[in-house]
């Protein structure tokens, strides 16, 4: 079985020869720059870092590293061709921090001292009071992609790898709003001014479809899995009520999923952090095939419960090791023990792609990462 057959088999809820592994390719299965350097040192490889997500400081892992890790999934390296000049985008710094504003007018800051990430500190519509004010927003125009880039994914598939697109246009339907109006304004608006929210999400859907049209112009027919990220949960439950997710948010995902699948992408993943258990039936209903990152440390997200209750209807892409405590702060022994336990819970009958719960961060000791990887290798065979 090659990697692609292995992944597609697991996504079809059948047991392949071994559990497919995704590190460094799928949405939120990536490495931060600092950690990637540790990994390069461990393998004794020299490489230039290619950052693909500035706010989270994530890098693109090279094929060489992914081969050494025996990963089954490869992602498209996008080279976007801008279709419009952004009135918001700019970069600057002062004595204390680095700043930038992206094409959505979201302003980010990273402290120079002890800062590891860029975080949101301002947004385009933070002072907007009504729909008329909202109309001053100037939408980013979805980029196009060089037709020649198609060859990268064709080559991956020919070499037997599964392919994924791990980028998307903006954030999800629930989570783009906070980047536009600020967290508190958006979440209050969802209750008090739902029509402003739906007007925005209507437009976002239109733009996302335009983005995927551009993607498929280049990559049509050579992507096995697409993913959309939209965080629904925090540690203890969903941010908003499951009913609101069901009635207001997921119908947009459903329409987008229908469109993407009509263009020949067989599988859709939803990346959604936190305790999302209460929303899983509706997530399945909206046409998602896989759930990521499966934050097993959050409330009601224990591997056994998830597998038993939803395992037949959704693939767990993630959930391999807790990145909030065990992977960064545990001992290698604890990492081995937890990795083994999670595999035992998730593996049966396929429907499981092993990955860390979210990106591997700077503070993860290389011994812990290797302990996880070795444990996976020892226990991945069906």
């Amino acid at each position: 079985m090659n990697s692609r057959e292995r992944l597609l088999c697991a996504l079809n809820h059948k047991e392949p020869d071994r559990i497919p592994l995704d590190l460094g390719a799928g949405c939120s299965c990536k490495f931060t720059g600092y950690f990637y350097v540790k990994l390069l040192d461990y393998f004794g490889i020299k490489e230039d870092l290619v950052y693909n997500h500035i706010p989270y400081q994530l890098v693109s892992a090279s094929d060489k590293v992914l081969d050494l890790l025996k990963c089954d999934v490869r992602s498209a390296t996008l080279h976007p061709i801008p279709q419009s000049e952004s009135p918001y985008a700019k970069k600057w710094e002062d004595e204390e921090s680095y700043y930038f504003t992206n094409g959505w007018g979201a302003q980010y800051r990273m402290p120079k001292e002890q800062g590891l990430y860029y975080d949101l500190v301002g947004s385009a519509l933070q002072d907007a009071e009504d729909e008329e004010d909202d109309q001053t927003f100037i939408w980013p125009v979805p980029e196009k992609f060089p037709l020649a880039d198609r060859k990268q994914l064709e080559d991956y598939q020919a070499a037997g790898f599964a392919t994924t697109l791990s980028e998307q246009f903006g954030n999800g339907f629930l989570q783009q709003g906070p980047l536009m109006w600020g967290f508190e304004n958006w979440f209050a608006m969802l209750l008090t001014e739902p029509e402003r929210c739906t007007a925005f999400m209507d437009k976002l859907l239109e733009k996302k479809i335009e983005f995927y049209e551009n993607i498929f112009e280049t990559y049509g027919g050579v992507i096995d899995v697409c993913s959309e990220a939209d965080d629904f949960g925090e540690q203890r439950g969903t941010f908003v009520s499951p009913k609101l997710i069901r009635d207001m948010i997921l119908p947009y995902h459903k329409k987008l999923n229908d469109f993407i699948k009509s263009k020949g992408v067989p599988f859709m993943t939803l990346h959604t952090c936190g305790s999302v258990e209460a929303a899983i039936p509706d997530i399945i209903e909206a046409g998602f095939d896989c759930l990521n990152p499966v934050q097993i440390s959050a409330a009601n997200m224990s591997p056994d419960h998830l597998k038993k209750t939803y395992g037949k209807d959704i693939v767990f892409w993630g959930g391999g090791i807790n990145t909030q405590s065990t992977l960064p702060n545990g001992t290698p022994e604890q990492v081995r023990e937890e990795t083994k336990r999670n595999i035992d819970s998730f593996a049966k009958d396929g429907g499981f792609v092993f990955s860390t719960v979210h990106n591997v961060q700077d503070d993860v000791p290389i011994e812990n990462f290797i302990a996880m990887w070795e444990t996976f290798q020892d226990n991945c065979k069906y």
Binding site: S84, P87, G105, T136
Partner: protein
């Protein structure tokens, strides 16, 4: 009639000095007076070196917005400065301007495509201002085609057919009038505007020429102008002409403009 107040423009010497001296009081007064005179948009043009243009525009726009709710007409020869200045505006306004010169239209149109922003478009291209009516209308057709490509509704466009200096080009007005008539025929919902003062350059008593132009242009179908709305004579002519052209039922607007003290002899 859509009036774009022209006074906050750094190329006017007194305003240029105010901008250079950061004379906030002068600029605020200018903004307030134009708003009070009924301007629909307030044009803001920095006319400074490109390196400081965006920050100067921000400063001016913030000042104007601090004193009036009248939306801004963002004015710059550089399409990139215009794009950078749009987010400073708290209300949807106008872009001044695009034409078929260089990359102007291809820079501005994609940015405003999905908004409600209006845009002034000049009928000139890389070869300059076309001399014949036919050639100018060709530019017009090209602009409309671009607008359609970006799904910009004609009603968001303010076409300026351009006026040349009458003292050097005797057919300046007739060209303008023919263009205006044909534009309104081809696309009735498009607006026609003009920054008209150029017409009287090099002639004595310029305001007489400007006033006569205003009347004739309105007669041809012009429905917007970039003028000084605090100029009572010119504004009075606008109201009077609209009434005569059956565009002011029962002369109500004319009368209320008089009652509001906007036109006619100043009350003592």
């Amino acid at each position: 009639m859509i009036i774009i107040g022209e006074k906050i423009n750094g190329s006017i010497p007194s305003m240029g000095k105010a901008i250079q001296d950061k004379n906030e009081a002068y600029i605020l007064e200018c903004a307030e007076k134009q708003a009070a005179a009924g301007a629909n948009y307030i044009d803001v043009c920095a006319s400074v070196q490109e390196e400081i243009e965006v920050e100067t525009l921000k400063w001016l726009i913030d000042l104007v917005q601090g004193i009036t709710d009248v939306p801004i007409c963002v004015d710059s020869p550089s399409p990139h400065s215009i794009v950078a200045a749009l987010p400073f505006c708290k209300k949807v306004g106008l872009v001044n301007s695009v034409s078929f010169e260089g990359e102007k239209i291809d820079t501005i149109f994609p940015v405003i495509a999905d908004t409600k922003w209006g845009c002034i478009a000049l009928l000139c291209d890389d070869k300059g201002i076309p001399t014949t009516v036919e050639r100018r209308l060709e530019v017009f057709d090209n602009i409309m085609q671009k607008a359609e490509e970006y799904k910009i509704d004609p009603s968001r466009l303010y076409i300026d057919p351009l006026v040349e200096t009458l003292s050097t080009n005797g057919s300046s007005l007739t060209t303008f009038v023919e263009c205006t008539r044909e534009i309104k025929k081809r696309s009735p919902s498009v607006h026609v505007t003009s920054g008209l003062s150029n017409i009287s350059f090099g002639l004595p008593v310029r305001k007489l020429i400007n006033q006569a132009f205003m009347v004739l242009a309105l007669g041809a179908g012009m429905d917007s102008a970039i003028i000084d709305p605090t100029n009572r004579d010119l504004l009075g002519l606008v109201y009077a002409t609209k009434a005569l052209l059956e565009q002011d039922e029962y002369c109500l607007e004319f009368i209320s403009a008089f009652r509001a003290g906007l036109i006619g002899p100043k009350a003592k």
